[in-house]
């Protein structure tokens, strides 16, 4: 019985052990790895992914996922530049020349709305979350293509680009923002009523309902949050690149997923922490950076990342096995019934 409790505990913090091991590996095999500049670089690369992972983690905790986040990033990142930029070559904006504050507000409202639609379809219309967010992924990407006819928009606005390029001393602004958001997110998840209720919903939705939680409301809220953060990430990325391609963010969703799950945020819901997710983000980005420094071909990096994800998943699958064993027995014992431990809910 002791072992059964010890192993999950170890596995929960596995991500940090892995990170440590990876850092140690690179530190020993590569020059320039253990430098401040390199660490800052890693964090810089992790920032956009990190913001998306925060949003995804919130939905994952409730036992849902948001495949559409990358498309929301793409759309909002594009619209951000689109609204404030002149039309026609060489910048290809809309010509609307909206004030910056309005543009930023608008793109976040759009992200919010996309999240809200996702949430409503999933809770009120009871459509499967995979199907809804997948369809949204495709549709929003389509809208993005439509907006500027597939043409990349370029930003020359220093104010806009500030979020991506500015630095506070040696530290890039995106890094600060990303870390701040993570800390805030962690506080919300671990120390607010909202966060607690998310865990309850993910672990046992009906029991949560019977305890006074409103699962539907919370689920809509996390999708809104995911959409909002995706919009913000879109601003960050397009600001950093100073342009927005219509394909911006395409394919990112898989890495987002991977980072969250590697970091211990369970696909089943009700398990994991934002801190762990941060670990997942750092692990993936560190591996990428380390391999880069080793002059490993960027293509190896892709493959290796995939393998890491796979390994992490295998471990997660084992975790589930270890953790679920005692529960089943208890359930059967207390209901006195067979595998259907419903305790004989009356028909009346």
């Amino acid at each position: 019985m002791r072992a059964q409790r010890l192993i999950p505990a170890l596995l929960d913090h596995l991500i940090w052990l892995l990170l440590l091991a990876v850092v140690a590996f690179f530190a020993l095999t590569t020059r320039n790895f253990l430098t401040g500049a390199n660490f800052i670089n890693i964090l810089f690369n992790a920032s956009v992914l990190g913001v998306l992972v925060i949003g995804q983690s919130f939905t994952l905790l409730t036992g849902n996922f948001d495949l559409s986040a990358e498309s929301t990033l793409g759309l909002c990142g594009l619209l951000g530049i689109f609204f404030i930029t002149k039309a026609g070559p060489p910048l290809y904006g809309s010509g609307l020349m909206l004030p910056l504050w309005l543009t930023i507000l608008l793109i976040h409202v759009i992200g919010l709305c996309i999240g809200w639609v996702n949430g409503v379809l999933i809770t009120k219309m009871k459509v499967n979350n995979f199907v809804v967010t997948l369809a949204m992924l495709i549709t929003i990407r389509g809208v993005t293509l439509l907006v500027n006819n597939g043409q990349t928009a370029y930003s020359t606005s220093k104010a806009y680009n500030w979020l991506g390029l500015a630095k506070a001393g040696p530290i890039p602004v995106p890094v600060i923002v990303f870390l701040v958001l993570f800390v805030l997110g962690n506080v919300v998840v671990a120390r607010t009523r909202f966060g607690r209720e998310l865990y309850a919903i993910g672990a046992n939705r009906s029991a949560a309902l019977a305890s006074g939680v409103r699962p539907e409301r919370r689920i809509i809220q996390v999708y809104v949050l995911s959409g909002l953060l995706a919009a913000f990430a879109g601003w960050m990325l397009s600001a950093r690149l100073t342009n927005a391609m219509s394909s911006m963010g395409k394919g990112m969703i898989f890495e987002v997923f991977a980072a969250a799950v590697i970091g211990g945020v369970s696909l089943k819901g009700g398990q994991g922490s934002l801190l762990g997710a941060l670990g997942g983000v750092l692990l993936l980005t560190t591996i990428g950076a380390g391999l880069n420094l080793m002059d490993v071909s960027v293509y190896w990096v892709q493959a290796i990342r995939g393998i890491i994800i796979l390994v992490a998943m295998t471990i997660e699958a084992q975790k589930v096995r270890v953790a679920s064993a005692p529960v089943r027995d208890r359930g059967a014992a207390d209901a006195g019934a067979g595998p259907r431990a419903t305790g004989g809910l009356s028909a009346a």
Binding site: R330, G331, A332, G336
Partner: protein
């Protein structure tokens, strides 16, 4: 009787789960040549567990199983199937999107030329086989379009095709219209005449009396009697099932007079209950009992907002009360302890602390709006002590506690919400004897110290007599009788008669 005369003999079967002995030395026998055996008992009595041991789903910890004279210490699902024992339960063993014929031949479809499936043969043979059992149904229909009764008949048919000689129907009828039940019973009787033995597990005693020849009663993991149905009366059966508890705790009324806390006026919900009226006074403990399906738990769930309450009026301390979800109920001061502890009562993977504080998180915040660890630990420790929950720490996941302690944690959760009214559905179910007493004392203390008005829904009439001031009986959706426990004329027999539906004398 020598062993050869029995088709199946279970001798001294014992099964333990962590914290609970589900079966304690159970003997169970089925005769050769066909039998219609009812298997009854309250939830947690061990009926399904016993059958699960017979079908090999659970290995027994002691005892032996003898089938047609051959003895087996270990039973497996494959072995059980080979021996001709099959089980039909609420989890369908049919593939919904496929046709009846295909389901009949699932895994063994007849093939014709080129090794391709011969659909003509499939359909023809299926129709023939079902016909031989006395069924005429379009075998091309998809299973998912069938009614529950029809599906169960097909499942029984499948078992028969696999040469099953013992068919266990585990809570097979659940909510079924009378006509469908007739259909099923007619089919079952015909097969019994051909020598098949049926074990019929059900809460609906009317059905036991209608269908079965014999009935085995289980209680607390023991077989407390095999009876011929013809020699039983319904009240005698009910009494055997619920038993009469040895008095070890007596509650003295702590009800204060004045306007009732909860008033239910003429509440009706089609299909569940009709024209229910009751009152609960401050500090009063009222019991609510009746047969499965009488509406007592629907009523509680309706009042708590888990289901629609229906038409009618409900007043809480004189003001109109309405809850469209549990949150609203809790906010207005009404709390509910669910019968299904695992599905609705506890969140197994989360800690004891989180389970307790979940409904009242808004009260545990500090100035910044964050949860205050101090306030939380204070509250939780106080409640754990108050309710005497045995646990090394409040941070432990609740799933590792025993049933009794889990139930106490659920109580703690309800208490934390400072309710005015408590609705408890089978509060002592799945809990060991000692914990039962402790829980009854908790209920008593709450009414005394906090003047909480409590409604206890239970089929344990003995326990109700111990802890309640009044007992209401529901029958077929209506309040059929009311008893004062202080009245010496209130006996288990009288209550049982009301439960069974006899008019009040």
């Amino acid at each position: 009787m020598d062993t050869e005369a029995y088709l199946v003999e279970m001798k001294g079967v014992t099964k333990d789960f962590p914290g609970v002995r589900a079966l304690a030395g159970v003997d169970f026998r089925l005769r050769q040549g066909g039998e219609l055996r009812g298997l009854v008992g309250k939830n947690g009595a061990g009926k399904s567990t016993l059958m699960n041991v017979l079908t090999g789903v659970y290995p027994s910890d002691a005892g032996e199983i003898v089938v047609r004279g051959k003895s087996f210490a270990r039973m497996t699902t494959t072995l059980s199937r080979q021996l001709g024992i099959a089980c039909v339960h609420q989890h369908s063993q049919l593939v919904g999107p496929l046709s009846i014929a295909e389901n009949v031949f699932c895994g063994a479809l007849p093939t014709g030329r080129l090794g391709l499936v011969d659909w003509d043969t499939v359909n023809r043979e299926a129709e023939e086989r079902l016909g031989r059992l006395g069924l005429a149904i379009d075998v091309r229909r998809k299973v998912e379009g069938l009614s529950v009764a029809e599906r169960q008949i097909i499942e029984i048919a499948k078992a028969l095709f696999a040469e099953a000689q013992v068919i266990i129907l585990d809570e097979a009828t659940a909510p079924l219209p009378k006509s469908d039940v007739e259909l099923l019973f007619g089919f079952v009787r015909r097969q019994r005449e051909k020598g098949v033995a049926f074990v019929y597990i059900s809460h609906y005693l009317e059905e036991i009396f209608e269908l079965c020849e014999n009935v085995t009663v289980m209680k607390d993991g023991r077989n407390i009697g095999d009876y011929a149905v013809s020699e039983l009366t319904p009240p005698a059966l009910i009494r055997a099932i619920s038993g009469v508890e040895v008095e070890r705790f007596r509650h003295a009324s702590a009800a204060s007079g004045g306007r009732p806390v909860l008033e239910v006026r003429d509440l009706s919900r089609p299909g569940s209950y009709s024209h229910v009226s009751l009152t609960l006074a401050r500090g009063e403990i009222v019991g609510l009992t009746g047969l499965e399906g009488c509406g007592k738990d629907s009523l509680a769930r309706g009042l708590f907002g888990l289901e629609p309450a229906g038409q009618g009026e409900v007043l809480l301390d004189g003001s109109p009360y309405h809850a469209s979800d549990p949150r609203e109920a809790l906010d207005q001061g009404l709390a509910y302890l669910p019968r299904d502890r695992h599905g609705l009562g506890i969140i197994g993977a989360r800690s004891i602390q989180e389970n307790i504080t979940l409904p009242i998180l808004s009260r545990l915040t500090n100035a910044a709006g964050l949860l205050s660890a101090r306030k939380e630990t204070e509250l939780v420790s106080r409640l754990i002590a108050l309710l005497d929950v045995v646990t090394p720490s409040a941070a432990q996941p609740i799933q590792f506690l025993s049933g009794g302690n889990q139930q106490k944690v659920v109580f703690a959760k309800l208490v934390s919400a400072s309710p005015r009214v408590l609705l408890l559905d089978e509060p002592t179910q799945g809990v060991d004897v000692q914990a039962k007493v402790e829980i009854m004392k908790i209920i008593d203390r709450l009414s005394r110290e906090q003047q909480v008005a409590t409604l206890v829904i239970s089929e344990e009439i003995g326990e109700l007599l111990d802890v309640c001031d009044r007992i209401l009986v529901m029958f077929r959706g209506r309040i059929a009788a009311e008893f004062e426990t202080s009245d010496p004329g209130t006996t288990v027999e009288r209550i049982l008669r009301a439960v069974e539906g006899a008019a009040q004398s």
